[in-house]
C-alpha cells in the first residue's frame, strides 16, 4: 500500500484475481485449474492458495500432458501438488500416445492432438464445468479481447463475436446445457507483473527460467535444448553446451531458449525489460496460421 490508502498495482491485480477465483468456486459446480507448470501457472496457483487460505484450494489441478515437457517441469509439478494439498490429475490423450505423436515427425498435429484434443477429452471425461487458465491479455491480440469468463460450446468452440458483456466485477457464471467456462484470473497481468510478483512472493518456478550451461542445438533460428535421449540429432549435429534460459516453457522440442547469464530473478527481470523481442517469439505455435494463428486455434478449442 502507498500513502492515502491507494493500493499498489500488484495489490490491485492480486485482489482482482482472488475475487475471480472465489466467484468461480462459489458459482460453478465442478471447477478445475489447468496447470501447465509455467511461470503464469505458478502465479495463478499461488493466488489460489491465497484466495482460500487456510483451506487448500477446493478444486484439483489438471495437467494436460504431452509427454514432451522438460524433465524439470514434471519435478516441479509433482512438488507443487504435494505442497498445495491439491489433487493432481494428469491427462495424456490415449490416441496421441498410441500413434506416437511427437513434435519432430508430426509438426502442428502434435499440438492439436496432445494439447487441443487432450484438453477437450480431459474436460469431458471429468465433467468439469469451469476451468481456470493462466492466459494474459498482453500476450497476444485475440487474448486482449477475450472476457475473463469465456464461454465454450459443448464442442469447446469459442465465438469471439458473441461474448457476454462483462461489467464492473460482476461475472455471469450461468451456463447453458453442455457449455463450459474458461476463466482467466490473471487476464490483466503483464509479463513484468508476473515476474515482479514471483520475486516479491518467492513463488517457486521451474529452474529453466534461470540461466545455466545446458546442451543445445540450433535449428531454424531457434535454440533448442536436448532434454533427453528422444531428441533426434541430424547427421553432423552435436549438442553444444551454452548458457541459456527460457522465457516461456512448453514442449522442449518446440520451445526456443535465449542465451543468457541471468541467474537470479532480478537479473531475469532486468533482461526481460531490456529485451527487444516478445516472449511468444520463442513459440512455434503462433506461427502456424499467420497473423490470426491464436484466434483460429482458440475457435477450435485451444485454451
Amino acid at each position: 500500500m502507498t500513502d492515502n490508502n491507494t493500493l499498489t498495482h500488484l495489490a490491485r491485480l492480486e485482489a482482482e484475481s482472488i475475487h475471480i477465483l472465489r466467484e468461480v468456486v462459489a458459482e460453478a459446480e465442478k471447477p478445475v485449474m489447468l496447470y501447465s507448470v509455467g511461470k503464469d501457472s505458478a502465479v495463478m496457483l499461488h493466488l489460489a492458495r491465497k484466495a482460500f487460505y487456510p483451506s487448500p484450494p477446493p478444486f484439483p489441478l489438471l495437467h494436460v500432458d504431452t509427454t514432451w515437457k522438460f524433465k524439470a517441469m514434471y519435478d516441479l509439478r509433482d512438488r507443487m501438488a504435494r505442497e498445495s494439498g491439491m489433487e493432481l490429475l494428469v491427462y495424456q490423450n490415449p490416441e496421441a500416445k498410441e500413434r506416437g505423436i511427437n513434435p519432430f515427425d508430426h509438426g502442428p498435429l502434435h499440438t492439436d492432438m496432445w494439447k487441443t484434443e487432450g484438453l477437450k477429452q480431459a474436460l469431458d471425461l471429468y465433467g468439469f464445468d469451469a476451468a481456470f487458465g493462466g492466459a494474459r491479455r498482453d500476450e497476444e491480440k485475440s487474448r486482449a479481447k477475450e472476457r475473463i469468463f469465456s464461454f465454450r460450446t459443448a464442442s469447446h468452440g469459442w465465438d469471439p463475436k458473441n461474448q457476454r458483456p462483462e461489467l464492473w466485477n460482476l461475472y455471469n457464471a450461468k451456463k447453458n446445457k453442455g457449455e463450459s467456462i474458461r476463466v482467466f484470473p490473471i487476464s490483466n497481468w503483464t509479463e513484468l507483473d508476473i515476474w515482479q510478483y514471483i520475486h516479491l512472493n518467492n513463488v517457486p518456478i521451474v529452474p529453466l527460467y534461470f540461466a545455466q550451461e545446458r546442451p543445445t542445438v540450433e535449428r531454424d533460428g531457434m535454440l533448442l535444448m536436448v532434454d533427453d535421449e528422444r531428441f533426434p540429432l541430424k547427421p553432423g549435429e552435436e549438442p553444444v553446451m551454452r548458457s541459456i534460459r527460457f522465457r516461456t516453457l512448453g514442449c522442449y522440442p518446440l520451445t526456443g531458449a535465449v542465451e543468457s547469464n541471468a541467474q537470479t530473478l532480478p537479473e531475469v527481470i532486468q533482461e526481460t525489460l531490456l529485451t527487444t523481442t516478445s516472449e511468444r517469439q520463442g513459440r512455434a505455435i503462433d506461427k502456424d496460421a499467420g497473423g490470426a494463428g491464436m484466434e483460429k486455434k482458440k475457435q477450435e478449442g485451444y485454451f
Binding site: 498495482h9 485482489a15 487456510p54 491479455r137 469471439p160 460482476l170 537479473e267 532486468q270
Partner: protein
C-alpha cells in the same frame, strides 16, 4: 523508419541496466490507473493507443517488424507506421479496418501502470463502451480537431458520465492537421464546455494533441507553445484513482464465500467494496442485522492489522452468527439499507428487447435474485439527451424504470457505491447478460408496505373445503382445445363437490386485463396478473383452472415459482399447428394469415412448448372427454 518514431522515453533503461534492485523497488510501489478511450471511427483512437504502447516500449522488435510489414500491406498511412494495426486485434476486424469490441491494453510509466479499455465509437456498440467504462477511473474523449464536437462526442461523454466517471480528458486530436491553431482548439473547448455543463459534467481537462505525431503525449510540444497544461501522460500519472476515494467511505464487504476448513475456523471471504476494517471493529451482517466484532483478518502471509477498499480478504468474527454468500458485512453503526423495489437506470444489451414484467436474474455484488422491470418511465436519446416515452428497451437503449426483486437486497445508490449499486440482468432461459443497471434509490412504498399476517390461514381455507388447492395451468396454441377441455374438467370436479374456479383467457381480457394488447410485453403482463389472481385463489383454498395460450416458458415458470411447491400443474394441450389451423373455430388463423391480425401465436409470434409438463394431452388421439378424465385422474388419484 520515419522521424515520428523517436526514442521511447517512459522507461529509464539506464536505471534498469545499472541498478535493477532499485528499479524493482520503484516499480513495486507504482499505482494503477484504468481508463477508457472513446472516439468516433476516424478520431485516431487506435493510433493514440498504439502510440502510448510504442512510447512506453511495450512493442517489441518482432512485433514492430510485423507491424511495418502490415502497415505497407493494409495500413492507411502510406509507407508510414500505422499504429492502429497494433491494437485492432481480431482477424475479422483487421480486414474491415474497424475495432468492434472492447480490448484491453497495458503499459507502464515510471509512476504508474495503466490498463486501457479500447472501446468502439459506433452507435450500435453503446454496450461495449458501457462495459469498458464500468471499470475505468478516467475517460479520454477524443475529438478530431477538424470536425469539432460531434453527436458521437456527446454520446460518449454522456455514457462516461452516466457510468460514474468523474475524471474526463478532452483530447483534441489531429492538431497537426489544423496547423496547431489555438483558435480551433479554443473553439472546440468552448463548444464542449457548454455541452458538458448541460449534462452535469462539472470538470474536464482539455488538451491539444496529435497521436500520430506525438504532440503533448509525453511532454510539452514545441508546436503548441500557447498550451500551458499537462501532457496526456503527465495527467494520467497524477490524477487520483477511485480506490483512494472508496477507502474513505463506510466499510462494506459483500460475502463471496464462507471459508470453513475445519470446526475451529470460520472466515468470511470477499473483496472490500468501500472503507477500511481492522480487528476490534464492530460490524453488522446485512440483511439479518446481527452484529459482532472482527477478531482477525486472515491471509496466507499472516494476519493483517488493517485492510482497505480494493483488497480481497478473509474476516473472522467473535461470535457464531449466521453469515453466508450474498450477505454484506458493514460498519455496525452505519449499515446500508435493504429493499425490494427501486428506481434504476438500465442499459439494454441484448438483441431481444426487454419485456416488462418478465422475471430476470439480477446480480448485484454477490447477491443473485429474481427481478421484474416495469415499463420504462422514459428512454434517453443518447444523441440529444432528450427523454422519450418508451414501452420497452431494445439493444443499446438506455432508460429509467422501476424494478422489484423477489426478496430484499442490500444496496446503496450507485453514485455512492458502485459495488452495491451496479447490477446486471441475466435472461433465465438463455443465461445471457441482457442488461446493466444502476440503482438510484429504493421506492418508499417498499419500505412502508408490510405483509399483513392474517389469522385464518390458507391451510384453514383449504381444510374447510376438504381439498388440496392447485392450479391446473392449461397452455397451448389458439384453437388447441384448452377452453373446451378446461370447461369439462371444471364441470366434472364440481360434480365431485370440489370448489373450483375457471379463469379463461378471453374472459379475463374483458375486465381485469382489458387494457392489455398482444405485444410480447403485454402478453407477459397478462400472465403475471392471472398468476397473481390464481395465487390468491389458491390461498382461498380453490382448485384454479386457467386456459391461456401463455406462449412463453419464462412466464409459465414465473407463475410456477409464485405457487406453493407441488400446487402448479402444467397441462400442455398439444395440438399441431396445422390441426389447430384446420379447425380455426374462431376464424382467427384466417385473419392472421391474411395479415389482418398481428402478433398471432404460431403465425407471427412464437409459441414455446413446455419441455417437461406435468400432463401432456395429445388431442389428435384423445377426445375432449377422455382428456378431462385423464387430467382429473392425475389431480385426484
Amino acid at each position: 523508419m520515419t522521424d515520428t518514431l523517436d526514442e521511447p522515453i517512459y522507461k529509464t533503461d539506464a536505471l534498469i541496466a545499472e541498478d535493477i534492485d532499485e528499479y524493482l523497488k520503484v516499480h513495486e510501489h507504482k499505482t494503477m490507473l484504468r481508463f477508457i478511450t472513446c472516439g468516433s471511427v476516424d478520431d485516431g483512437k487506435s493510433t493514440l493507443i498504439g502510440r502510448l504502447l510504442y512510447d512506453s516500449k511495450m512493442i517489441f522488435e518482432d512485433q514492430l517488424a510485423a507491424l511495418e510489414a502490415d502497415s505497407k500491406r493494409v495500413g492507411t498511412q502510406g509507407q508510414e507506421i500505422d499504429f492502429a494495426l497494433l491494437v485492432d486485434g481480431l482477424a475479422a476486424e483487421r480486414e474491415q479496418g474497424i475495432t468492434i469490441d472492447v480490448a484491453y491494453r497495458f503499459f507502464a510509466t515510471e509512476k504508474r501502470k495503466f490498463i486501457v479499455a479500447d472501446t468502439p465509437g459506433h452507435e450500435q456498440y453503446t454496450r461495449n463502451m458501457v462495459t469498458g467504462a464500468s471499470t475505468a477511473d478516467l475517460a479520454v474523449i477524443l475529438i478530431d480537431a477538424r470536425k469539432g464536437v460531434l453527436t458521437q462526442t456527446k454520446r460518449h461523454s454522456y455514457l462516461a458520465h452516466l457510468i460514474g466517471i468523474r475524471n474526463i480528458v478532452l483530447a483534441v486530436n489531429k492538431m497537426d492537421l489544423v496547423d496547431y491553431d489555438q483558435a480551433v482548439f479554443d473553439g472546440i473547448v468552448k463548444d464542449y464546455t457548454e455541452f458538458a455543463r448541460s449534462i452535469g459534467i462539472q470538470h474536464f481537462v482539455p488538451m491539444p494533441i496529435s497521436g500520430f505525431k506525438g504532440d503533448n503525449i509525453t511532454g510539452p510540444s514545441e508546436n503548441t507553445p500557447w498550451y500551458k497544461g499537462p501532457s496526456l501522460i503527465t495527467h494520467l500519472e497524477t490524477v487520483e484513482v477511485n480506490s483512494a476515494t472508496d477507502a474513505e467511505k463506510p466499510f462494506r464487504m459483500p460475502v463471496q464465500w464462507v471459508n470453513r476448513p475445519n470446526l475451529d475456523f470460520r472466515g468470511f471471504s470477499g473483496l472490500i467494496a468501500t472503507g477500511t476494517v481492522k480487528p476490534g471493529d464492530a460490524v453488522r451482517v446485512l440483511p439479518s442485522g446481527k452484529t459482532s466484532t472482527v477478531t482477525r483478518i486472515v491471509t496466507l502471509d499472516g494476519d493483517l492489522e488493517q485492510a482497505v477498499a480494493g483488497q480481497s480478504v478473509t474476516i473472522c468474527f467473535a461470535d457464531e452468527i449466521d453469515c453466508s454468500r450474498g450477505d454484506v458485512i458493514a460498519l455496525a453503526d452505519n449499515p446500508p439499507q435493504a429493499a425490494d423495489q427501486f428506481e434504476a437506470t438500465i442499459v439494454w444489451m441484448a438483441d431481444e428487447e426487454m419485456l416488462p414484467g418478465r422475471p430476470y436474474w439480477l446480480k448485484v455484488g454477490t447477491q443473485t435474485v429474481t427481478a421484474t422491470v416495469q415499463q420504462p418511465k422514459y428512454q434517453v436519446n443518447v444523441n440529444t439527451m432528450e427523454h422519450l416515452a418508451a414501452k420497452t428497451l431494445d439493444l443499446n437503449a438506455i432508460g429509467v424504470a422501476n424494478l422489484s426483486t423477489d426478496k430484499q437486497i442490500v444496496f446503496e445508490p450507485y453514485e455512492q457505491n458502485r459495488t452495491l449499486g451496479g447490477f446486471i440482468l441475466i435472461d433465465k432461459i438463455t443465461n445471457a447478460t441482457v442488461a446493466a443497471g444502476m440503482l438510484h434509490f429504493s421506492l418508499r412504498r417498499a419500505q412502508n408496505v408490510h405483509w399483513q399476517a392474517t389469522d385464518v390461514t390458507r391451510e384453514f381455507h383449504a381444510g374447510l373445503k376438504n381439498q388440496k388447492p392447485a392450479v391446473l395451468w392449461f397452455t397451448g396454441l389458439s384453437g388447441a382445445g384448452k377452453s373446451t377441455i378446461a370447461n369439462l374438467v371444471e364441470k366434472k370436479l364440481a360434480r365431485m363437490n370440489r370448489h373450483t374456479f375457471l379463469l379463461d383467457g378471453d374472459n379475463v381480457r374483458h375486465g381485469l386485463n382489458k387494457d392489455l394488447g398482444f405485444t410480447d410485453a403485454d402478453r407477459v403482463e397478462n400472465i403475471r396478473r392471472v398468476g397473481e389472481v390464481a395465487k390468491l385463489m389458491t390461498d382461498a383454498g380453490l382448485i384454479v383452472i386457467t386456459a391461456f395460450i401463455s406462449p412463453f416458458r419464462s412466464e409459465r415458470e414465473m407463475v410456477r415459482q409464485m405457487m406453493q411447491p407441488g400446487e402448479f400443474v402444467e397441462v400442455h394441450i398439444d395440438t399441431p399447428l396445422a390441426e389447430a389451423e384446420a379447425r380455426d373455430v374462431k376464424g382467427l388463423y384466417k385473419k392472421a394469415r391474411s395479415g389482418e391480425l398481428k402478433n398471432f401465436t404460431g403465425i407471427d409470434s412464437p409459441y414455446e412448448p413446455p419441455e417437461d409438463p406435468e400432463i401432456r394431452i395429445d388431442t389428435t388421439s384423445l377426445t375432449a372427454d377422455e382428456a378431462a378424465d385423464l387430467i382429473i385422474a392425475r389431480l385426484i388419484p
